[in-house]
């Protein structure tokens, strides 16, 4: 293709641009494996306490707003779709499209955090949660799991902002779009975690 000379290989120790691409991507997959361990430990803790205090956990699930949880699920799925379209645009060297799809992804991420803010406010400031035996366990898990997830969303937004800036400078091409693909992988994992959090936290007690 003759694009190789424009590749910003810099002074890396890689022999081939292909190798840079595959190594970076594989590195991200390894990082995502550690993320599965992180969230896995939390999901395991949740499983133990739900198993032990089943009736209470059903009640607490009812106390969460499934409409807001569902809205956030759709918002995050949409953000994942925009992210993959950004990757697709990057693969075709369309920097302007990468920029627009990054903007749309950021908008969804922001919406997610705003909705989460209203949910947290209802539980923390308006004293809405019922205080029953074991409620500290459920809400402890709820805030830990959704909090760490929310932190991931925030960090992801930073990374997508960085992509957007680079796309604006027309830095991506058919032969170099590794950062877009790698950030995309991370963003989709954040989505996958929420795909499990939503039914476990909001839906298992039925719909209020």
């Amino acid at each position: 293709m003759g694009h190789h000379e424009s590749l910003p290989l810099g002074h890396t120790h890689f022999a081939e641009p292909e190798q840079v691409y595959h190594s970076a991507k594989f590195g991200m997959w390894v990082f995502l494996a550690t993320e599965v361990h992180l969230f896995g430990a939390l999901f395991c803790t949740f499983a133990v306490y739900r198993w032990r205090y089943f009736e209470d956990f059903q009640q607490f699930a009812l106390s969460l707003n499934w409409r807001l949880g569902g809205l956030n699920t759709i918002v995050l799925l949409t953000s994942s779709y925009f992210m993959v379209r950004a990757v697709d645009a990057a693969q075709k060297g369309l920097n302007k499209k990468v920029n627009s799809f990054c903007n749309l992804t950021l908008l969804c991420a922001l919406t997610f955090l705003v909705v989460k803010f209203f949910e947290y406010r209802a539980k923390l400031i308006l004293h809405e949660p019922p205080i029953f035996p074991h409620s500290h366990i459920f809400y402890g898990l709820y805030f830990t799991m959704t909090g760490i997830h929310g932190l991931h969303v925030l960090l992801g937004m930073g990374a997508i902002w960085w992509l957007k800036m680079r796309a604006k400078r027309e830095e991506f091409s058919v032969t170099y779009y590794t950062p877009v693909e790698v950030v995309g992988l991370y963003w989709h994992l954040v989505d996958v975690v929420w795909i499990y959090l939503f039914p476990l936290l909001y839906l298992l007690g039925g719909l209020a």
């Binding site: 361990h37 198993w51 569902g70 799925l77 693969q91 693909e181 989505d191 795909i195 039914p199 298992l204």
Partner: protein, 163 residues
């Protein structure tokens, strides 16, 4: 891996390439497939919410949990296979995806198995500890409320309080 069927792609700069000409940089997936996956993800979200309003049996909501986790797993698989391009990745990437899932299954099975067995042998196992934790937590919660209302009886016994 789809290298046999040469498909021509028109790029942003107007040039044409095949997948082979991409020097191995990723797999270009038709946008139609992304649209299809996205639609499926939205549909499955609606299904999982719809199912949640019924108690579909199994005792202790077992079937509800099973169905919710099945749908979530299908959604997660769709995201991973198509949005994350795992479908076109090498075997070693598949390995790095499967091994943490295996470890996770091991940890959950081991922990829940351990709990259920001990519960059967000594039903009070763990309860003493959690009840004690609850006492502490409930006490702390009550004290906070009292502190807010200014009706805290006498804090001098607890020591180390600060404002």
């Amino acid at each position: 891996m789809g290298h046999s069927d040469k498909e021509w792609k028109r790029l942003g700069d107007g040039s044409l390439i095949t997948e082979d000409a991409q020097v191995g940089l990723g797999h270009i997936v038709p946008v139609k497939l992304y649209n299809l996956v996205f639609t499926a993800l939205l549909m499955l979200t609606i299904v999982t919410v719809w199912v949640a309003q019924y108690d579909i049996g199994g005792g202790h909501g077992a079937m509800n949990l099973a169905v919710a986790m099945l749908i979530a797993t299908i959604k997660a698989a769709l995201v991973t296979l198509y949005f994350m391009h795992l479908n076109w990745e090498s075997k070693i990437t598949w390995g790095i995806v499967i091994y943490p899932l295996f470890i996770f299954a091991l940890i959950v099975a081991g922990t829940l198995g351990d709990f259920s067995v001990k519960e059967r042998i000594t039903p009070s196992f763990g309860h003493a500890a959690t009840e004690a934790m609850e006492k502490v937590a409930t006490g702390a919660y009550k004290r906070n409320i009292q502190r807010e209302q200014g009706t805290l009886p006498d804090e001098s016994h607890h020591g180390g309080e600060h404002h």
